[in-house]
Subunit: 247 residues, 2 copies
DNA sequence: GAGCTATTCCCCAGAAATGGGGAGTTTCAA
DNA sequence: TTGAAACTCCCCATTTCTGGGGAATAGCTC
């Protein structure tokens, strides 16, 4: 039965075409899991974020107002804790995950007062994107059963992924430039901070040739410098962070 | 019953004190979910990684040998795909997640030949740490039921978290460089391909000052050029791709 | 007040990147 | 066989980056 719920949710999310639909789905599943509230969001200061950020929730309005007024997006203790793990966690575990400052205690007290007594948060991190999470919260005296946590973990991850798709956080690579092997190798080393001269030595080619490949690669991506080149290659998957950060 | 399995696993992982115990737990649960193999690892070239990296698995020995010989840790198509999502995915979804090169096709063919016919991978990303994942694979003709995927998502995340705890992967959250506002703004524009001179005009400061902030930012991250600077900032979340790709 | 950081400005010299030009071979497909 | 694309090398001029100095103001903390 629980499994059926999970699968239905997964399929419904994949079929959703608007954030509004996703919102509805989260609404329903939240209740079904025994929670009262959900909040799926990027950990940024949403009202002031320069780029489009995710946020759908049904938290109490006054909590949202407080949250935004205090710019808690990046500093909320639940969010901070979610930056240290990839597994979902009960809010009761917070003290084991981060050091709670006085300010944090105030925030938590305030959230309890707003009707968010207990909760479960599923982190959602993707290299190069804003940190995010999907939380489920319950009001006083309505503690959801521990048995639902594995389901919540799945629901949170699935919902976040669906939201990313709907908002178009990352368009799966469509018109990606085709790179030659040598061009790719040059980008790889350039992203690791190598100069054209160093790249030429690594690849055993002349300095001029390395420069040439970098020129061509910039041309393929339509960018004018190696920083943008590396970032585009990272974004479209031609490179990974593990490539670029290795030293 | 499935829920009971998940909970038991969760508790057992939390109680485990050695990687060996975790290995055993994964062994059992893998079978219980209808898979034959599991692999929990960081996406690095494990034998050559300078820092401690996670890897426990029961993949066939010849596959592991091939994997290491070819240094697939960072470039394996399944791993690459897992860098683009936070939700678990079937390997059959790979073509929708990344562009499969001929090399990728070869790798996948090789893995099938080694007995890894189909599988399900749960990404595990934490800002500032190596990308990782927990995969479950099945041999020919033994396709695990879709119903188990929500469970697999939970198991993968839980197991990865347990492994991190056991290995003592320290979160470099604390060591993440602290940037001043101006430094961050300079990185932001530099990642968007602006020169120091352009940045100075945008921020309304002198050219020299922009150069100065870039120097300091490089110093904070311990890197020597703006490409690495941008990549590091992207990786640890100080920047996002949405920032860097905007034109 | 001493010490720290952020912010702002300045100078210099060498290294590196960028944009422009050209030209040969090989390989693979139409 | 004709052509496209990859791979390789070379030259030039200009711009940009990087690393090394130094210094003033403001604000905050111990």
């Amino acid at each position: 039965m629980i499994i059926a719920t999970a699968q239905q949710f997964d399929e419904a999310v994949k079929a959703a075409t608007t954030m509004h639909e996703l919102d509805d789905l989260l609404h329903d599943i939240t209740r079904e899991m025994g929670f009262q509230h959900f909040a799926l969001s990027h950990h940024v200061d949403v009202p002031r974020a320069p780029q489009p950020a995710l946020r759908i929730h049904n938290y109490p309005g006054d909590w949202e107002a407080f949250f935004d007024a205090e710019r808690l997006g990046p500093s909320d203790p639940v969010h901070r804790a979610s930056h240290l793990t990839n597994a979902g966690f009960h809010w009761s575990m917070l003290p084991q995950l981060i050091v709670l400052t006085r300010r944090d205690e105030e925030i938590l007290a305030k959230s309890r007062k707003a009707g968010l007594t207990d909760g479960f948060t599923v982190p959602a991190h993707i290299p190069g994107e804003s940190a995010g999470s999907c939380s489920f919260a319950s009001a006083r005296g309505k503690t959801p059963r521990r048995e639902w946590m594995p389901l919540a973990q799945f629901i949170g991850a699935t919902a976040f992924e669906g939201a990313r798709r709907l908002v178009g956080v990352r368009r799966i690579d469509q018109d990606r430039p085709r790179l030659s092997d040598r061009q790719r190798e040059c980008i790889y080393w350039a992203a690791r901070g190598k100069s054209d001269w160093e790249i030429s030595k690594i690849l055993g080619i002349s300095h001029d040739t390395a420069i040439q490949y970098m020129k061509e690669a910039r041309g393929r991506y339509g960018v004018g410098n190696r920083t943008q080149l590396a970032i585009h290659a990272l974004f479209d998957g031609a490179l990974t962070f593990t490539d670029a950060l290795r030293r």
